[in-house]
């Protein structure tokens, strides 16, 4: 088998699930004849027809709401946000309607909302967002954010088969930059399970999505230059979060750095910090540090974007600070 990109892995996951289950269908803007803004759904309409690959009006509330209605009836909709930034216009449908459906009305709502996320691509304030924290706070939703091509495929397939709504964030910086051979067979990655991306003993980095790769770069650098052994935990799922894996790495290294690309205040790192505080405080030998984006809308110009987003050098700095504490 040959290697495929992160983007191709998502497409392969969609193909396989649509072939496996006639209830799976895709809907979104420009996903059919055009194949999507990033071509994730290219070839889908030719294979499955326009009934199952629906080009919709520019209407995120309708896309998400209609997906929910179809899901109630036993369909398995996969809704694309052309850029995940636009999920905010469907925020009401997701948080008030979809997330509460099972609890308040015993209505199953098995659906996936996916879309290109994240920065490092000079996309500016409205084509670079990481809105996961806005939904982390909503009971009833699940959130996954893969960092590797095989996880991209395996998590998507699991998300489509999940009985609840899964927000599937895919990082557009990774779309065509990473390649991997897919595991054979029906490859599923369980939702809610983190992955140790690199084993280590001195410091733990807890992260997800594109910054997994920045963390790995930084870990390699401090190993070479400082002799530090850094563990990198790739969360993969944010909701539910793998508390067991987080506590295990805290107990192993006793020093924790949390890295994410999203802005700092009210971000995922704060939640992880609180969880460690509640369940493994006595295992810490140093305060938990965060490397995140600055609290600004993401600017367009390269010097500005690079300055705002977390970089490998920031992570190296934080690792050294933690090791020396």
């Amino acid at each position: 088998m040959s290697e495929i990109t992160y983007l191709e892995a998502i497409r392969e996951g969609l193909f396989e699930e649509m072939e496996r289950d006639a209830n799976v269908f895709c809907l979104g803007e420009d996903i059919g004849a055009y194949g999507g803004a990033f071509k994730v759904t290219e070839g889908l309409m030719a294979k499955f027809g326009e009934e199952r690959v629906i080009d919709t009006p520019i209407s995120e509330a309708a896309i998400i709401g209609a997906a929910a209605g179809a899901a109630h009836m036993g369909m398995r909709p996969v809704a694309e946000m052309q850029f995940i930034d636009f999920i905010s216009t469907g925020y009401d449908m997701l948080t008030n309607y979809v997330a509460t459906a099972r609890y308040r009305a015993m209505l199953p709502c098995p659906m996936v909302v996916r879309g290109p996320s994240g920065g490092y691509v000079r996309g500016g304030p409205f084509h670079s967002q990481n809105p996961e924290a806005a939904f982390l706070h909503t009971p009833g939703l699940k959130i996954v954010y893969p960092a590797t091509a095989s996880d991209a495929k395996g998590l998507l397939k699991s998300a489509i088969r999940d009985e609840d709504c899964v927000l599937y964030f895919e990082h557009k910086y990774l779309y065509r930059r990473i390649k991997e051979e897919m595991p054979a067979g029906d490859h599923l990655v369980p939702i809610g399970k983190a992955r140790i991306a690199r084993e280590g003993n001195d410091v733990s980095i807890i992260t997800y999505a594109a910054t997994v790769w920045k963390a790995l770069e930084a870990a390699a650098q401090v190993e070479k230059e400082d002799g530090l052994s850094v563990e990198v935990l790739d969360l993969r799922s944010l909701l539910p979060m793998d508390d067991e894996a987080i506590v295990a790495t805290v107990k192993k290294t006793n020093r924790v750095l949390i890295v994410h690309e999203d802005t700092r205040t009210g971000g995922v790192a704060g939640e992880i910090t609180a969880r460690i505080n509640e369940s493994a405080f006595e295992w810490l030998d140093a305060p938990i540090l965060r490397v995140t984006a600055a609290d600004v809308p993401l600017p367009y110009s390269p010097p500005l974007e690079d300055y705002v987003l977390p970089q490998t050098s920031d992570i190296v700095l934080a690792l050294r600070k933690l090791a020396a504490y």
């Binding site: 269908f25 009934e51 199952r52 629906i54 919709t56 009006p57 209407s59 509330a61 309708a62 896309i63 998400i64 709401g65 209609a66 997906a67 929910a68 209605g69 179809a70 899901a71 109630h72 009836m73 036993g74 369909m75 909709p77 009401d92 449908m93 008030n96 309607y97 509460t100 099972r102 609890y103 308040r104 009305a105 015993m106 209505l107 199953p108 009971p139 009833g140 699940k142 999940d162 009985e163 609840d164 539910p240 509640e278």
Partner: protein, 376 residues
């Protein structure tokens, strides 16, 4: 009758005002059933008012007094044997009863009982049952339009002979969700009927502050769908106009927007003193245009006997009495049930550390009198 905004003249092909004067294709038995559901709606709400005044209703109470005909007549146009589904709004209790909702469920919902359909999670008529064919609304107005677009999209995709019906009020026509949902359904030619129940007020806001449109049915033109307007206080007219739309949808003709003209005689909820309503308006509607009074006159003129109507009223009272007794005897929910069923997996959340081993957060479930009972 008073009817607002009939001055515009939309294309005849799109808009008709239904008078309900034509004889419907309904049997005598069916026409009496319409009467039964209207009576059941009104009497059930009257019983809920009693329970509310006894502070047995935990939240607010929403009435559909004077609007029973539009909910009952429109829902009656659906075909339950085919699996048609509707999604009601807060003044469409009658439509749920037509689909098979039981009065005891409604009373338990209002009383927040543990064996209510939502097990105490949701209020009032916010619940549904896919088997009987109704999907519970949420409070965010207009949101059920995209949802019902998706429900009916699934009917189309699976080539099922089913139709969906969604209710919105005049106020909800201002929301983005209403627009997005109806446009999506129109483009997809979903078998969906959208009923705009124009009762003159959204909470305290009169229609003229809600829209500059001459009449809400005009919006159909912009969406490229069929539009009809009817007298919502005439149960037969309501049935007929909806039946046409349902037949059109089932035949593949797509979405219809129906504006039903009616009037909200009670406030937004029971606490609302309606200070914003012009003097005499409510009384005029009550005396001249009560949908049940109008229908009784019609039935009697058609040869139905007063004894038959009295028998229906007796039956309704007996049913509501039995439902009330059953609901009152029902238990409140077990507090720990609040942690069940947020997800399919995990099926239940663990209690927070400060609730470990603790069943209930408070010693006594009493509402201090200062709280009032008028939360919405």
């Amino acid at each position: 009758m008073a009817r607002s905004g009939t001055t515009a003249s939309p294309p005849a092909s799109l808009n008709k005002i239904s008078s309900g004067e034509a004889q419907p294709g309904l049997t005598r038995e069916q026409r009496l059933e319409l009467y039964y559901y209207m009576r059941l709606t009104r009497f059930l709400e009257e019983r809920l008012v009693n329970l509310y005044r006894q502070t047995k209703v935990v939240g607010g109470l929403f009435r559909s007094l004077g609007q029973e005909a539009d909910a009952v007549g429109s829902a009656y146009a659906l075909d339950r044997s085919k699996g048609d589904i509707l999604s009601p709004l807060i003044r469409n209790l009658g439509s749920m009863l037509v689909q098979g909702a039981r009065p005891v469920e409604i009373i338990k919902q209002y009383m927040a009982k543990g064996d209510s359909p939502t097990r105490g999670r949701e209020l009032n008529i916010h619940y549904g049952d896919l088997v009987r064919g109704f999907i519970g609304q949420i409070s965010h107005l207009g949101d059920m339009v995209p949802v019902m677009a998706g429900v009916t999209l699934s009917f189309k995709m699976r080539k099922q002979d089913r139709v969906g019906l969604v209710y919105v009020g005049d106020g909800a026509t201002s929301t983005g969700a209403f627009h997005e949902g109806i446009n999506f359904a129109a483009v997809q030619r979903c078998p969906l009927v959208v009923i705009v129940e124009n009762n003159g007020y959204a909470y305290s806001t009169p229609l003229r502050k809600q829209t500059a449109a001459q009449q809400l049915v005009d919006k159909a033109i912009g969406y490229g769908i069929a539009g009809e307007q009817a007298d919502g206080n005439d149960v037969i007219a309501t049935y007929e106009v909806t039946k046409r739309a349902v037949d059109r949808a089932r035949a593949g003709g797509g979405v219809t927007l129906i504006e039903l003209m009616t009037y909200r005689r009670k406030g937004h909820a029971e606490h609302d003193n309606q200070s914003y309503v012009p003097e005499g308006e409510i009384e005029r509607w009550a005396s001249e245009n009560d949908p049940i009074d109008r229908y009784v006159k019609r039935l009697l003129a058609e040869g139905v006997s007063q004894a038959q109507l009295d028998a229906i009223e007796t039956r309704v009272k007996q049913e509501i009495d039995a439902a009330t007794d059953e609901a009152e005897a029902s238990p409140m929910p077990d507090p720990t049930d609040s942690l069940v069923g947020i997800y399919a997996d995990p099926p239940e959340l663990s209690p927070l550390w400060f609730r470990q081993g603790i069943k209930s957060a408070v010693e006594k479930h009493e509402r201090p009198s200062s709280w009032g009972t008028h939360d919405v």
